[in-house]
């Protein structure tokens, strides 16, 4: 997975595409940690292009959420497809993570500070 993060109104959007699994989870985690090291604190993970996630992929999302909780940052998971949503739900992630239907909605929530 080649991750090209974008900035929108001070929010860092991380698009995830294809599959987030054991073979590329480390790459995704590294990309996030790099942005965090650059001082980014507000993230939207864009799942709309992600077809599949496994527990190795969930691990990256949980690492990000824990790091941002510790630094008083914020992240929203947006645009989850069917398989990704079901895996989030099986794992109890839908209740501990902030979710949005679309990236636009997530960015608006961030801007409103709500």
């Amino acid at each position: 997975m080649n991750i090209q993060a974008m900035e929108r109104n001070g929010v860092t959007i991380i698009p995830l595409e294809g599959r987030l699994d054991g073979s590329n989870a480390a790459v995704a985690e590294q990309a996030f940690l790099q942005l965090l090291a650059e001082g980014k604190q507000r993230f939207v993970f864009d799942f709309s292009g992600l077809q599949y996630i496994s527990s190795a992929g969930l691990r990256v999302i949980l690492v990000a959420a824990k790091k941002l909780r510790a630094t008083k940052g914020r992240m929203i998971c947006a645009g989850l497809g069917e398989q990704v949503y079901d895996v989030f739900e099986m794992s109890g992630f839908t209740t501990i993570l902030e979710m949005a239907a679309t990236v636009e909605e997530a960015v608006e929530k961030m801007e409103a500070g709500a």
Binding site: D21, S23, S54, K66, R69, G92
Partner: protein, 158 residues
Amino acid sequence: MSNDWQYPIDREIKLFNRMDELRRLNEGLEEIGAEVGWPQRAVLDLSLACEELVVNIVNHGFPDGGEHRIFVAIQASPSSVEVKIEDGGIPFNPLDEADPLALLDMELEDRPIGGLGIFFVKRLMDDIHYEYAGGLNRFRMRKQFGAGKQGQQLAEGT
């Protein structure tokens, strides 16, 4: 009823104990799914169950390192699949792991990283079985696709 009829596709995917082999595993499953006509979602669920088991073997099966084989045998029909996964790593029964139910309700701060993989396998697959025999970890699982729908049609048809 002969096994040939029940499972028109009988194939083995041989993997090495490396994470980058997940791509080949997935390609193999997609190929079988396309040939036999599984819905895309069934392929994804099967891919998840297989990945979690293979990742477990890659991470824990061979603590001394080195290159080893993991054998994934797939018997497929349009409405069902049976998967057998075998490896010669240290004996490990993934079904001994307790379900992480307590973990699911934990707050973000307290939640441990990991512990979900085998839980997914149990949730997604049926008729799961493990044994250690002949120096091999042997894991078997089955899945019937769309069984609920067929049952409904039967009920409506009578």
